[in-house]
Symmetry: C2
């Protein structure tokens, strides 16, 4: 086998597995450890991989950096919120799951223990996550895929969503204003969110505390339309008052860290 071929294969392997050890590669290509080290060092020089003691990993993500770094913010909080929310979802339920990193965390939680869910989503990541559970029936809305986050939006998506009427709508959101307005940045995304609200028997909103009072351009409805809110810190007074006024149950998870 040619050197270039081998190096290409090494890149593929790293991309696929996230990590390869020199031993693995020696085994796989039947060459000496030194040869592998040369390959790895050369590839590392070209930034094709990251070199480490004992092997190599994927280079610092070339694409999707914006989305992937955003994904990590408040990761632990999102997980805790997700853990709390899924307790309210019974087995066998039907639900929408929205675009966003929090909804993705929720999908990860659902996949662990739930059974027989039927889920409609317009988030390609959520669909990929839910595929992991064979008991689930996953329906993906069609439309144009946004490269930045794998969300699917547009007119076609809207029509698709409107075909369904499900038990739960699980929403993420960009901001909640002090007057209870639910806000987001993208007009098209907002239209889909609205459709989800209209076609769900119960709407659950999961937000981390950074969203309170945060501003965004497009109004997609009011907090009074929700059936439950789950968050990780006591909301500001104004919002807490609104929740009380409209008798909307909300859960503030206890932080474990």
């Amino acid at each position: 086998m040619k050197q270039t071929t081998r190096q290409q294969k090494i890149i593929d392997l790293v991309q696929k597995n996230g990590y390869v050890s020199t031993d693995d590669l020696v085994e796989r290509f039947k060459v000496s450890p030194q040869t592998i080290r040369r390959d790895l060092n050369e590839l590392a020089d070209e930034n094709k991989i990251r070199r480490h003691h004992g092997g190599a990993t994927t280079p610092l993500s070339s694409v999707n950096t914006a989305y992937n770094t955003r994904k990590v913010m408040q990761l632990h909080e999102k997980d805790c919120i997700a853990e709390a929310l899924v307790k309210y979802i019974p087995n066998g339920a039907t639900l929408f799951i929205d675009i966003g990193t929090t909804p993705e965390s929720i999908a990860k939680e659902l996949v662990k223990n739930h059974k027989d869910l039927r889920v409609v989503t317009n988030n390609i990541n959520v669909a990929a996550i839910l595929m992991g559970n064979e008991d689930f029936k996953v329906i993906l809305a069609g439309g144009e895929v946004r490269n930045r986050d794998g969300g699917i939006v547009g007119e076609a998506t809207l029509d698709f969503i409107k075909q369904f009427r499900l038990d739960f709508g699980i929403l993420g959101i960009s901001g909640i204003d002090y007057d209870g307005s639910l806000l987001d940045f993208d007009y098209h995304e907002v239209r889909v969110k609205k459709a989800i609200i209209e076609n769900s028997r119960s709407v659950y909103l999961a937000v981390d505390h950074t969203k309170f009072g945060r501003n965004a351009m497009v109004n997609l409805g009011n907090i009074s339309e929700l059936d439950m809110l789950i968050t990780d810190q006591q909301p500001p007074e104004e919002i807490a008052a609104l929740l009380k006024e409209h008798n909307i149950p909300f859960e503030v998870i206890s932080r474990t860290s």
Copy 2:
């Protein structure tokens, strides 16, 4: 700092960077290497991370094993076929990409150097791959997601596909009979493939040699409907004769391994 907190932070770091070294962690938490090793080993036992000499990486996704192992079969051949096929796709083209592992390889090739493609697909993996290139416009067909391979099939998918009329249709397939019949296993999938054939100006079929003479239940058309066939080994006489008879160009890639 508590042990649980540190371990959670380690997980976050691994998720974020794909890799952390023990040294990094020692530096970051100001604790002894031994403590870090204990943490890493514990986390590895719980499958939260993958342990390696010198550090740790993200765990291997436990799900999708059946599909992922299948994915590796003839991996190199598929890659070579893909490399040959994408040379026929000009920048700025519009194309369908089908369900299957070969089409996924093709998507991986396209993402590397092509520009301004507009792609319609019913394969969630292809969509995820193509997202990597910001120049591409990716349109995903809606419908039910098959857990086993991320294919999207069904009536809704069919209607969605039929809305488009594109330059190229890139097909994968389960088998080609000696009489030139194109065969597959799933009736619903076949209907989608037929729709792709009907709505593409040129249909390109990429198959590895294991598909020749292989039988499957559902007939989805004849080899004469193709505009090009790319494969990795000289096809059997019968099929070669059919290709010649219908003046269908085909390329047999030279194996580099």
